[in-house]
C-alpha cells in the first residue's frame, strides 16, 4: 500500500513546479538581513557596503538582478532615484555623481516563472551602499557587519588613543591607554535594525576616521548551507539545499536547486544560489587555486 502512497506524493510533488518552498521562518527582508548583490568602487558587496570617494567625482553602481523583476535605488543626498525592470539576471548600472556622502538604499524584487500558480510567497531583497565622501587625505577605517540579534560584534582600534563614535543615538567618547576594540553593545542598545556610525580615532595629534555600518538581523534567520559542487570535465554539477529556487553561474541560470552548467576551470566564475525568501549564497571559483570561496 505504501507504494500507492509514494506514487500519490510524487504526483503531488510534480504539480508543485520548480519553485521550491523555503522553510525559513522569516524572509531575509523581514529579518533585516540585506542580500542584494552589488558592485561599486572595485568591490563586490553582499547586501551592505561602504565606498570611500572624493566629492565631485563619478561612481558606477552595478546591482545584480535575479531572474526578472524590478530594481530600485534611492538616495536623496546623491540624487539617485532609479527604478527599472530587468530580465535574464541582467544587472542594473547606475552612474552616481558624488557631491557629498550618501546612503543608497536598494530593493530588488524578483518575479519568478509560474509564480502566480505556485502558492508560494516571494520576498524582495534589500541592500545599502554608504558612499563616504572625504574632502581631505586623512586615513580611514571602514567596517560593515551583519550581526545576529543577541550576539555582539567588535571594531578593532588602530592603537591607544581617544575614540569618538556618533550616529544611531550613540554618543561614545573614551580614551584608551592601549590598543583594544569596541563592542557594538557599548555603542547602542538597539536589538534589531541598521546603524551607520561615524567616528574618529585621535592619537598623537593625528586623526583617523572610523566608519562602521551594522545590520542587526532577526535571530531566527539562518543562512543557506554551502552546496555540493563537483566538476566533471567541462561540466559543473551543483546540488544545493532543497530550499534553493534559483541556481546561477555567471549569467546562466536555472529555476531549480540542482543544476549542470558548462564550466571552464581556467577562468573565474561566480555561482549564485537564491531562495524565494531572499536567502542567498555566492561561490567564487578561483582559477589559480582551483578552489571555491563562499560568501553568505
Amino acid at each position: 500500500m505504501k507504494k500507492y502512497l509514494l506514487f500519490f506524493l510524487l504526483f503531488l510533488a510534480s504539480c508543485l513546479g520548480k519553485l521550491r518552498p523555503d522553510p525559513s521562518p522569516i524572509s531575509a527582508y523581514d529579518a533585516g538581513y540585506p542580500t542584494v548583490e552589488f558592485y561599486a568602487c572595485d568591490q563586490r558587496f553582499n547586501g551592505v557596503g561602504i565606498c570611500p570617494a572624493s566629492p565631485n567625482t563619478h561612481m558606477s553602481l552595478l546591482i545584480q538582478g535575479y531572474y526578472k523583476g524590478t530594481i530600485e535605488a534611492v538616495s536623496d543626498r546623491c540624487r539617485v532615484n532609479y527604478k527599472a525592470r530587468y530580465d535574464n539576471n541582467t544587472p542594473a548600472v547606475i552612474d552616481i555623481e558624488v557631491k557629498e556622502s550618501c546612503n543608497i538604499d536598494i530593493v530588488v524584487t524578483p518575479e519568478y516563472p509560474n509564480e502566480a500558480k505556485s502558492a508560494l510567497e516571494i520576498a524582495p531583497l534589500k541592500g545599502r551602499l554608504y558612499i563616504r565622501a572625504f574632502t581631505d587625505a586623512l586615513p580611514y577605517k571602514l567596517q560593515s557587519n551583519k550581526v545576529q540579534q543577541g550576539t555582539d560584534e567588535m571594531f578593532d582600534l588602530p592603537d591607544a588613543g581617544r575614540v569618538v563614535f556618533k550616529g544611531c543615538g550613540a554618543n561614545f567618547d573614551r580614551t584608551f591607554d592601549r590598543k583594544t576594540f569596541i563592542r557594538l553593545s557599548e555603542l547602542v542598545s538597539v536589538t534589531k535594525g541598521d546603524c551607520t556610525f561615524n567616528g574618529v580615532f585621535i592619537s598623537g595629534g593625528k586623526s583617523t576616521r572610523l566608519i562602521w555600518q551594522v545590520w542587526i538581523y532577526d535571530q531566527t534567520f539562518t543562512q543557506i548551507p554551502i552546496p555540493s559542487v563537483n566538476i566533471k570535465k567541462t561540466q559543473l554539477v551543483v546540488t544545493a539545499d532543497t530550499a534553493v529556487s534559483i541556481s546561477a553561474i555567471d549569467q546562466d541560470y536555472i529555476v531549480k536547486n540542482t543544476a549542470k552548467f558548462d564550466f571552464e576551470p581556467k577562468v573565474g566564475h561566480t555561482l549564485r544560489l537564491l531562495t524565494i525568501k531572499g536567502r542567498n549564497l555566492w561561490g567564487y571559483w578561483d582559477p589559480k587555486t582551483q578552489t571555491w570561496g563562499w560568501v553568505k
Binding site: 505504501k2 502512497l5 534611492v74 556622502s101 538604499d105 534589500k126 586623512l138 561615524n198
Partner: protein, 105 residues
Amino acid sequence: MGILGPEDTDLGMGKVNPVDILDSLIQLMLSLAKGGPVTWSIFGVVAIIGMIIIWRAKAFLAAEVQKITDKKRNEALAKAPVDNQIVEKDTKKSEDEIEEIIKNG
C-alpha cells in the same frame, strides 16, 4: 519506515495510519468496480466535481498568496525612500559632529 507512518499523523482522532486510509479508498474503488454503469456514472460525476473544487481552491489559494507577494513588493519599494530619508538624516548629523571634532583637534 515509509514516508508516513502511524507515528507521523494525528488527525485529531487519535493516531491514524494514512496507509489504512489509502487501503480503505482502494477497497471502495474495488466495491465500485463490482457495481453497474449507473454506480460508475455517479462516481465519475462526484470525482469530476471534486477535481473542479480542488482545482478552483488551488487557484484561489495561489491568487491570495500572489496578492500578499505583490503587496510586500510594493511596500518594500515604497518603504525604501522613507528609510533612506531617516538614514541620510542620521548619518549626515553624525558626519557633521565628527568633522567638527576633527576640525577642533
